[in-house]
Symmetry: C2
Subunit: 349 residues, 2 copies
């Protein structure tokens, strides 16, 4: 299947770069005193994660520099467009560090106990340490991004973009928290929340390397939109997969969002179509719901056109995101960025 | 009294600049959506505060540019040392914004209900909103500092210094939290905590304007040390004042730190001298303690030399901080920076 081949290429590309990224995280975020604080900052970074954002950042750099990466690629002395070298890897790490900070603080706010199958930082440590670990990573990201050796004017632009992305992420998380207390959220509002909370950082991951390398505004803007659109698609598809991927493959009960009354683009669309979403599932916990009950709920949502609505939106966004890549020189890195966008909505978890 | 004259000059200088600073805060942190989030970010900035850090930042700029400030001084188009103009005020605001973010998060961690006499943000709103309001201000500070129009290489340096200061602040707060669970903290460890948690941001407030203006490394380093040393003196003197200023003037019960078992440089020194600090006061809340009981405790601490130890250290640090100012051109702004250092340890609250 073409889908599987895409996933295989993406995972191989991610795998090839992940060791570099993990080594760079060790180097750029060394342990320091107070030990407990720094352990907490490393805790989530070491709990895994695919490193999709840093991979996207590295691929953008490779595409612009027309470098065909192999294991010996020196991301620490990477050529900008004017030939001067800078630390592309450090910029990639800074984005991953921001991602980690937001996960730590989000888990406190959402009272989530688990993250990537492990206790969340505020459970493994405590809330005070989790707040501080997030705040420390926040500072480290700006220390790193302001220390890549890239052209100063480009660095100032990159810092401003990362800071602006952080502001948007906070706005998105704030909307997400507010939505829990509202029963009149529209699909449009939901999409705006998703863009702010998640997609903007994908956008920054793709745009910042281009900024640092001295790419023109059109290229930077196209890469930003590539990231934003594929990030939005990713998040929307997440809601689709929760209903359509078998529980074994999903790694959790299919339909969990419905059982837990989590509003998604699908339920918001269904409500607009007059579906009584709150009556779809009567089970109160994912452990109590039957596959048959989920099947019935999915059938109702399919009849309302809500699942197709979300799936088509994710596909349209992915197509649009891939078109943006035409600003990049042709080559393996550009192809992998396109594959990455596809992978984000086809991954079976 | 010379002390009162100093305070008068400082307060007049602060007053003269505060309106500019408050107007700039309004302009640079405009209200936006989500409204509740942005209200929370403004809440503590509007609750007052003397604006000592932005005042110090503006005074450093004035001293270096040899400008004699009056109400018409345009801090938004301020001359750097090469004559190019940049937004000094925005840099000053960025430091105040970082200060506000740390207060909001500290109050959550310390479970403090009041800040500047008003409910803390996490009480006036809720913990989620307070975490996010802090995170938003954090981002805004870097958006602002990367957008002053100063020379790009200097801006990169300034951003890196602010980020590094934020890392240190987190380390200091982490030590502070850890110390509450330890009974073997040394005065040296306490002093390190104070430097990280509080003084480093004073240092950044004084150094960053010099960096942005293109001052040489020696000047920048001296100004940083001016800020750090006067900030340390300020914090140490705080502990002295809690025991020595009459309750009416202090605005809270004298000796509150002792009653609340708050470890200070004074109590840590006294412990080293063999004083049984825990037995000094038996009252369990500041409302229950008598002035006589505080007097007796103060007498014991005086006999141990602990109050003199702290007071002398604050005075020495202040003298040292003022000596650092010799890197600046002579003039009214330099004199006011010296007055400010004196004021920090003589203010009667």
């Amino acid at each position: 299947m073409a889908q599987d081949a895409t996933a295989e290429r993406v995972l191989a590309a991610v795998e090839q770069r992940r060791e570099h990224v993990n080594a760079a995280i060790d180097e750029d975020l060394p342990m320091a005193e107070p030990e407990r604080l720094y352990e907490a900052t490393r805790y989530i970074l070491e709990a895994g994660g695919k490193r999709l954002r840093p991979t996207a950042a590295l691929l953008v750099g490779e595409a612009l520099a027309e470098v065909d990466a192999d294991d010996a690629t020196d991301y620490r002395s990477f050529p900008a467009l004017d030939g001067d070298e800078f630390d592309l890897m450090r910029a990639a790490v800074s984005v991953e560090v921001i991602q980690s900070f937001t996960l730590i603080h989000d888990d406190i706010m959402d009272e989530d106990d688990l993250r990537r199958g492990e206790p969340a930082v505020h459970r493994a440590y405590d809330t005070e340490t989790a707040i501080l670990a997030g705040d420390t990573l926040y500072a480290k990201a700006f220390e790193l991004l302001s220390d890549t050796g890239a052209d100063p004017a480009n660095t100032v632009d990159a810092v401003n973009r990362l800071a602006s992305a952080c502001t948007r992420i906070c706005e998105g998380q704030s909307l997400d928290v507010d939505f829990e207390n509202r029963d009149d959220v529209t699909p449009e509002e939901y999409l705006e929340m998703v863009e702010l909370k998640t997609a903007v950082l994908y956008g920054a991951s793709a745009a910042i390397p281009a900024v640092l390398m001295g790419a023109d505004d059109e290229t930077v803007e196209a890469l930003y939109q590539y990231g934003v659109d594929s990030g939005r698609a990713f998040q929307i598809q997440d809601d689709v997969l929760d209903l359509t991927v078998p529980s074994e493959k999903l790694g959790k009960q299919r339909g969990s969002d419905l059982v837990e009354d989590k509003e998604t683009l699908i339920t918001l669309h269904a409500r607009q179509q007059g579906v009584d979403v709150d009556a779809l599932v009567s089970a109160e916990t994912p452990a109590m719901v039957s596959e048959a009950e989920v099947d019935d709920a999915v059938a109702v949502l399919e009849d309302a056109g809500s699942i197709a609505y979300a799936r088509e939106m994710a596909e349209d966004l992915t197509e649009r995101s891939k078109e943006r890549l035409s600003v990049l020189p042709e080559g393996p890195a550009r192809d992998l960025l396109a594959d990455l966008a596809d992978y984000l909505i086809t991954r079976g978890y």
